[in-house]
């Protein structure tokens, strides 16, 4: 169903939501924007360009998360320490990434209760991108600026209003009482969406990338492209689809904790015997790219990258994944 909301009416709506849930929205802090819980609807800064630096995946998989507290020899889980939340203003790329991560955390023989409960308790009100940025490439990886997968509500900005495409029961609970959008407004919103996607250039062709990367596994491609990579963790930490974590006991605080980890660090795969299956930067860069564009595809038939562009913007050496994929597709072994 489609609802209509004026921009001026949004703060009032947020206030209503705040009666029942914690509302997270992008909030400007100094020079950049970050998702924070709102104390006041006026704090929400929905017109952030590019993306937030820190990905909103942190609201579901915190960078440091206490899993258990040790009390009298027993480990007590923190999985229920989660309350009702609304995340407003998240973009499609980040929403789609959460959905891809559901495939890791919720599927198979074991479900991750920390992830599951946060997902259950959260309603995602997505703000699609009418004006995608230069570094965004969601349309190259099977997504788009108004990709609705995973959204409870998708907001499309037309003039001074939002058309709200309400897609789930959770979304309904937040938007039900609003007036329906007119047919004309819905049509305009569709035009906005089509125009946004059409504006975007495709920096690479993703068709066949999985097989191409597999064929390059032992080639000279990887030693060549990894030369400028510094082996820091920026791309993996800012990435909305990266999920590797480490589990550590913080005995002094009686906590069992999980922290984001990264395959870009040498010690990630270091074994107690001293053997390291990925001893040099070459293997690690290869692992990162292949995990996103080959292994993930093998497992889930989806590219494990949503084109958010954070790694492109913040890599200190401008090692650009768009350029890497394009080069891989074109690589001919001599």
């Amino acid at each position: 169903m489609y609802k209509i909301l004026s921009k001026a009416g949004l703060p009032g709506l947020i206030e209503k939501w705040m009666e029942q849930a914690t509302v997270y929205a992008p909030v400007r802090q100094g020079d950049f924007t970050q998702f924070e819980p709102l104390d006041d609807p006026a704090q929400a800064d929905l017109y952030y360009t590019a993306n937030t630096r820190y990905p909103p995946k942190a609201l579901f998989l915190p960078q440091s998360e206490i899993m258990f507290r040790a009390k009298d020899g027993e480990l007590e889980s923190t999985e229920d320490e989660v309350s009702s939340r609304v995340i407003l203003g998240i973009h499609s790329c980040d929403t789609r990434a959460l959905q891809l991560l559901d495939g890791v955390f919720l599927a198979g023989d074991y479900q991750d209760p920390y992830w599951a409960k946060k997902r259950e308790q959260t309603t995602l009100v997505v703000l699609g991108c009418a004006d995608p940025c230069e570094t965004c490439f969601c349309t190259s990886v099977g997504s788009g600026p108004f990709d609705k997968r995973g959204a409870d509500v998708m907001l499309i900005n037309i003039d001074d209003k939002y058309v709200a495409d309400v897609r789930s029961e959770k979304g309904q609970a937040l938007f039900d009482h609003l007036p329906d959008a007119s047919q004309e407004q819905v049509v305009t919103s569709r035009q906005v969406q089509a125009a946004a996607a059409a504006k975007m250039e495709k920096p690479f062709e993703s068709e066949g990338i999985k097989d191409k990367l597999y064929s390059l596994f032992d080639s000279d491609f990887w030693p060549k492209i990894q030369q400028s990579c510094l082996g820091c963790g920026i791309c993996t930490f800012l990435c909305p689809t990266c999920y590797c974590f480490d589990i550590v006991d913080e005995a002094q605080r009686n906590e069992r904790v999980r922290n984001w980890d990264t395959c870009m660090f040498r010690i990630y795969s270091q074994e107690a015997s001293g053997h390291n299956p990925r001893p040099t930067n070459t293997e690690r860069v290869r692992q990162r790219i292949m995990h996103k564009y080959a292994y993930f595809v093998e497992l889930y038939d989806e590219i494990g990258c949503t084109g958010c562009g954070r790694c492109v913007r913040y890599c200190p050496v401008n090692l650009d994944i768009r350029q890497i994929i394009r080069s891989a597709q074109a690589w001919e072994e001599s």
Binding site: M67, G73, S77, E79, V104, Y243, D246, I247, V248, L299
Partner: protein
């Protein structure tokens, strides 16, 4: 909702020093809660592993080294090599320890009923092969399979695990058991030679047979060609892999190799499957 990261409480019932140099010790753990015990044994199969947990020291994965019929306990044989294993070695009967499991896949012997089973193990990696052999020796199971051949190599006589039990295998008619050490030693009554060489001499027949091989990488590297020569196809040779693990349930990414997680899609793989995996293993 079941929390797969939460360990269940286990109590150390018995410890056995396995090797003469004290580096390997077996721990037999019993369940504090009957419900946990029932749940465990309803799922457990030879080849699986568990994560043992000591709060403040962390967790580590260990293959289960006992067959279900051996009793209401779960045995782990642990090599003292780091902070965590050193801490376990200092524990005594009566102490409690956390456990998560059984995890991973298992030796799929159900698929090979009627076949001859060849088990080849070297060094500390024998733990889950011991489990497999013990499982097969249960009377109601044994009759479902053909010949059972076990080749077990260690560097020296003192480094064999489960000495008391494996001694009894010589007296049995339902198992062809061969022990071998690297170099001759006075008083040693069994075979001498590296496992690959001994395997070649014993030459177990590949017809209607399936092999399970575990050991240090160098042993595997030289045993595989022997099995090849004996005409064992790679789909009928199984092994159990080890890799650095953290969550043990296929979430944290640590043990990933290509599209697989060793903890979830393994640790048991055929050599045919291994060939498909990328080489950063």
């Amino acid at each position: 909702m079941h929390n797969p990261y939460k360990p269940i409480p286990m109590r150390i019932a018995r410890t056995v020093v396995e090797t003469d140099d004290q580096s390997l010790k077996s721990f037999e753990l019993t369940f504090e809660r009957k419900a946990d015990q029932e749940k465990f044994f309803s799922k457990y199969r030879p080849g699986q592993f568990c994560q043992l947990s000591i709060f403040s020291k962390g967790e580590a994965p260990f293959g289960v080294a006992s067959a279900a019929w051996e009793g209401d306990f779960v045995r782990f044989t642990i090599n003292k090599i780091g902070v965590f294993t050193r801490a376990i070695h200092e524990m005594k009967p009566g102490d409690t320890i956390g456990m998560r499991g059984p995890l991973g896949n298992w030796y799929p012997i159900e698929d090979w009923k009627g076949s001859n089973i060849v088990i080849i193990g070297g060094g500390y990696a024998f733990t889950t092969l011991f489990t497999l052999a013990q499982h097969l020796l249960a009377p109601e199971i044994r009759s479902q399979y053909g010949d059972l051949t076990v080749i077990y190599g260690a560097r020296e006589p003192g480094l064999f695990l489960y000495k008391k039990v494996i001694e009894t295998w010589y007296e049995r008619k339902d198992i062809n058991f061969y022990q071998t050490i690297d170099n001759p030693r006075e008083g040693w009554g069994h075979l001498v030679g590296y496992v690959p060489t001994v395997t070649k001499e014993i030459a177990p027949a590949a017809e209607n047979a399936v092999a399970f091989v575990c050991g240090p990488p160098v042993m595997i590297r030289f045993t595989l060609p022997v099995l090849n020569e004996l005409c064992f196809p790679p789909e009928r040779i199984y092994t159990s892999l080890e890799k650095r693990m953290k969550c043990g349930i296929g979430k944290c990414g640590r043990c990933n190799v290509g599209p697989k997680y060793i903890c979830k899609d393994g640790p048991v793989f055929t050599f045919a499957e291994l060939r498909e995996l990328p080489s950063d293993l």
